[in-house]
């Protein structure tokens, strides 16, 4: 099992932008691309375990992300493909944590605020609008989008499959997924002709 190198896909974005959905789809797709050892670190889940007790002050949010980053770093070192899905609202904190990782792909998950308010799967936007969530990211607390994310996925305009393709393409372009060279034009013609000869086309 020593032939897989670690990497981290860091999904950042406001609540409801599709981080968990995209992360789960990536978790399905990665093994077929050779990343059999894969771990999803979901921010919501880890707040119930590793990060239990942390609140939503700036200091607690930073601590939360630093713990996630530390786990991701350990896993990456041991050859695991790690998917982090966490709001991770502060640009500076994300940059500091990602600097500790060897191969990290930052993915900005986004959607217009009006769409997020309409979706509001967890009912949080409604609570924030009612003043019941004093530190809700993007409404009553800051969210700092990435300035130069490797990939941006707008869940209001793109399918989950398209998002997965974009992330896999970015990993491919960096050479982080082995065995992922596509067919050249000449190879494609060779295969097309073979299929035609065999009657498949």
């Amino acid at each position: 099992m020593s032939d897989q190198q670690g990497l981290v896909i860091w999904l950042t974005g406001m609540s409801g932008t599709g981080k968990t959905t995209l992360a789960q789809a990536l978790a399905q797709a990665l093994p077929a691309r050779g990343a059999a050892r894969m771990q999803l670190l979901d921010g919501d889940e880890l707040r119930q375990t590793l990060c239990r007790g942390l609140g939503f002050s700036r200091a607690d949010r930073d601590e939360n992300i630093q713990r996630l980053g530390y786990v991701a770093q350990l896993l990456e070192r041991h050859g695991v493909a790690v998917i982090v899905a966490a709001i991770s609202p502060y640009r500076e904190t994300r940059a500091a944590v990602q600097a500790t990782l060897t191969r990290c792909l930052e993915v900005q998950c986004t959607a217009p605020l009006t769409v997020l308010q309409q979706r509001d799967v967890k009912g949080l936007y409604a609570q924030a609008a009612a003043g019941e969530l004093p530190q809700f990211t993007g409404v009553s607390d800051p969210y700092e989008p990435a300035t130069a994310p490797a990939v941006t996925v707008d869940s209001s305009a793109e399918t989950v499959a398209a998002g997965v393709d974009k992330v896999l393409a970015a990993l491919t372009a960096r050479g982080w997924l082995a065995g992922d060279a596509g067919l050249t034009t000449a190879e494609e013609e060779l295969v097309r002709q073979r299929l035609a000869d065999l009657g498949y086309l």
């Binding site: 032939d3 399905q28 797709a29 992922d180 067919l183 295969v191 009657g199 086309l201």
Partner: protein, 466 residues
Amino acid sequence: MNRRKLAVIGLDCATPQLVFGAFRDDLPNLKRLMAGGSWGKLRSTDPPITVPAWLCMFTGCDPGKLGIYGFRNYRDYAYEKMTFATTLAVKEPAVWDVLAQHGIRSIVLGVPPSYPVPPLPGGTRVGCWLTPDASCEYTWPRELKRELAAQFGEYQFDVRDFRTDDKDYLKRQIGEMTDQHFALARHLVTTRDWEFFAMVEIGLDRLHHGFWKYFDPQHRKFQPGSPHAGVIRDYYRQLDTRVGELLAAMPDDTTVLVVSDHGAQRMDGGFRINEWLRQQGYLVLTTEPATAQALEPGMVDWPKTRCWGEGGYYSRIMFNVRGRSPRGMLAAGEVDAFRAELTAKLELLDDDCGVPMRNRVLDPATLYPVRNGIAPDLMVYFGDLRWRSVGTVGGAAGVYVQENDTGPDDANHDHHGIAICYDPTRRGAGERQGWELYDVGATVLAYFGLVPPAGWRGCDWHGGAQ
């Protein structure tokens, strides 16, 4: 977790009427597995085509979920962009990916599609016949390629020059290719550590397509007394011998599945779907082609065209919908009525002799709960696959053709392949009914004590539904 080995031997196109019927007594090794195990017809996918069928078998996903409806798939609705279904198009884990996550090592040989060859942690993988040629990186680990080349010579992914009239040359090639594949398989199962083995041998499919007319008296081109009349039977015997040798190289307590992705039947001819659509006024060209040629987007008068079709063993029909395609004609509100109209006309077609063709017209929206990628708007099995679809337009040939300009036409696929399940520690159940291709992956995972990923389709043959 079961630590006994499990081997899946895939024989592309192995067909039940021959394996379980006419040739049964010629196949002592398969007969032995049947006698000690369970066996039956294996319902293939819709469509019953090599790609996506093997992929569906080993991912537990239907073509809609995979977004892979054939060897080539539209990238969008802009008429032109069809891409090959390589491993890059696969977004779902296969059984060997799931097994690798649990530290179970696999050998995977020639299972389509398997190019480019993705890494298989702890395992061994060799590309399928969709690999361009032996200069490509077609193995995992990468260095395995050199070892195989040194021991077995240049790897034969498929037969060359399939449309040759030299049938002896074709027969010889298929036989030699098969011998090489099985020799390589024996080498790997005896030199690698593994728990799961899967291979697909493509030779049988090629043989059916190339030689069916010589042995089936019902075939329109049957030639009594042909010197090639025994080629298919002889090859089945060869295949059975190779399977026996491979099993002999594995531990005695290995559980074995012998499966195929679809069956085979005679082909009665080709139906020129686009010529028929032109006759009906559904497809309009800007100019009349002087001779039969492939339909190209630049030939079509798109503002007057409601749909077009693809050639192949079955036909995919795409609608030219306004707002979906650049020069769409059909309004979205007209699509359902048009689908019903076209379906009714296709189902009522007679063949060139005036006999009802028994065409089957399928709507992917009712076949697949999820339709990723670009699904066809309709799929048509002409003569329930006794006729292939021909995509060319122009020329004097008309709608029904016997001479196919795009490939061999001796045989087409059939909806049922074969399955034989032999577990030396269990009492076999003899002939079974109702097995589906999707069951294979579920059975493999259950064998190793693993729960399939969410949404995985199929039943464990030794247990219940997933």
